[in-house]
């Protein structure tokens, strides 16, 4: 099967991809330790969107990997992770924004580029605005939580060439921000390009 999509997304850039039901979308961490902030929407109803906490609860575990059913705010299955050579992905750490950068790193980061801008820029074509930005997936990002209730951002578990693959359970929109964050280890302190490869009819 020839790829329906083969796109390199530069660091700090994004994409809005329509994946038809049954289509497979592979995200390749070309250079390693690159967070790929991702939101999913039912293509027929953008308010039926990916829900991180419904997904976490229904699978009874915090981390995402092969077999994780990515559920919507109405508990519909939007996609399933069908392949994963990284091993684990975050969905509780959220995306970076100018405002959360100020909180986390200080006022001097206010005007640094952040994922929320990319989401809003690429989402606009389908009517995805501030209200439609739910809590996202961070592919390739390592956010350990533990029994004591602590949570932290750690160096990634990913490496050059690792990939994760989604299979769409219905027609979906995949909104991606290739994270430009420079202030924590989620991108190995050096944001790099990722590749999107899609297979569908």
């Amino acid at each position: 099967m020839t790829a329906a999509l083969d796109l390199v997304v530069a660091p700090g850039d994004g994409a809005l991809i329509t994946v038809p039901e049954g289509g497979r979308l592979r995200i390749v961490d070309l250079h390693g330790n690159q967070a790929v902030d991702t939101l999913l929407y039912d293509a027929a109803d953008i308010d039926n969107r990916y829900s991180a906490f419904d997904t976490v609860r229904e699978q009874g575990a915090v981390y995402l990997t092969t077999g994780s059913r990515l559920l919507s705010t109405a508990l519909d299955e939007l996609a399933v992770i069908t392949d994963d050579t990284c091993g684990r992905h975050d969905t509780v750490g959220g995306a970076c924004s100018q405002e959360s950068n100020v909180i986390r790193y200080g006022e001097h980061t206010r005007h640094q580029h952040a994922c929320r801008q990319t989401f809003l820029r690429y989402g606009a074509a389908k009517g995805i605005g501030q209200r439609q930005l739910g809590h996202n997936i961070n592919f390739f990002m390592n956010v350990p939580v533990d029994a004591a209730g602590t949570l932290r951002f750690d160096d990634g578990l990913s490496a050059p060439g690792k990939h994760v693959e989604l299979t769409a359970s219905r027609d979906i929109l995949v909104l991606i921000s290739n994270c430009p964050q420079l202030n924590n280890p989620c991108n190995g302190w050096n944001p790099t390009a990722v590749q999107l490869i899609g297979w569908w009819a």
Partner: protein
């Protein structure tokens, strides 16, 4: 002079109220294993609670004093000033109709005001009264519930029964004019018989917060969120 009031939310119900900046909002569990799924909106009703930003900024996988509840736009909505419990779940969302199916069908016609409605149904009903709707749902805090995290490769989750008892409390201090929306439906991971406990809400004026208040000195991140709200109200 602002005055106080209290309201009893019965188990299995939903409630919403605008609360002005500088108020203490105390929730008190009226029975064992009460759950208050809480959504929070900022003064403009577009900005809303952002659990991921709240937990990552304060390096906690649950909500507890003296954390600051933060919004999408990087503002402090409220500080958690006090609680008898050291863990309030914020990773497992609110319940849907599907979680009540095991109890069989329920309707007003059948059960009158004892009919079983999910947290989602109640929250959306309340949101709609304020011109909001399903698009405005977001990650909630499940006050009074603990979902334990296992130190295993997937960070498995288990609801802890018996975590909260009648009389347990949590107190928030509002940092801007907020809209509080809450449901007292059972926690979605509950396997118990249907008997959701009620929650009492007390709203009263808060004394001015000191610069060295526990939330303000908790972490630099907490202090910056409070500072950004101060600027938004300057």
């Amino acid at each position: 002079m602002p005055s106080s009031y209290h309201h009893e939310v019965p188990g299995g119900a939903a409630w919403s109220a605008p609360v002005r900046a500088g108020r203490l909002v105390t929730l008190t569990a009226q029975g064992a294993d009460a759950n208050a799924a809480l959504l929070l909106f900022g003064a403009d009703r577009l900005d809303r609670l952002n659990i991921p930003d709240t937990v990552k900024s304060q390096m906690s996988a649950c909500v507890r004093p003296p954390m600051v509840l933060m919004s999408d736009r990087g503002l402090a909505l409220a500080r958690v000033v006090d609680s008898t419990l050291d863990w309030h779940d914020c990773l497992t969302g609110f319940g849907h109709d599907r979680h009540l199916r095991r109890f069989g069908p329920s309707s007003y016609a059948q059960h009158r005001n004892e009919w079983r409605r999910s947290a989602r149904t109640g929250l959306v009903s309340e949101l709609t009264k304020h011109g909001l709707g399903p698009a405005d749902l977001h990650g909630c805090v499940n006050f009074f519930s603990k979902v334990a995290i296992a130190d295993d490769p997937r960070a498995s989750l288990t609801l802890v029964t018996g975590h909260a008892a009648a009389g347990d409390t949590v107190t928030l201090r509002t940092e801007q004019d907020v809209l509080v929306v809450l449901s007292t439906a059972p926690h979605p991971l509950s396997t118990a018989d249907y008997a959701p406990a009620g929650v009492r809400v007390d709203v009263s004026p808060a004394p001015p917060a000191d610069a060295d208040d526990a939330s303000a000195v908790f972490r630099a991140e907490s202090a910056r969120a409070l500072e950004m709200t101060r600027r938004a109200q300057a």
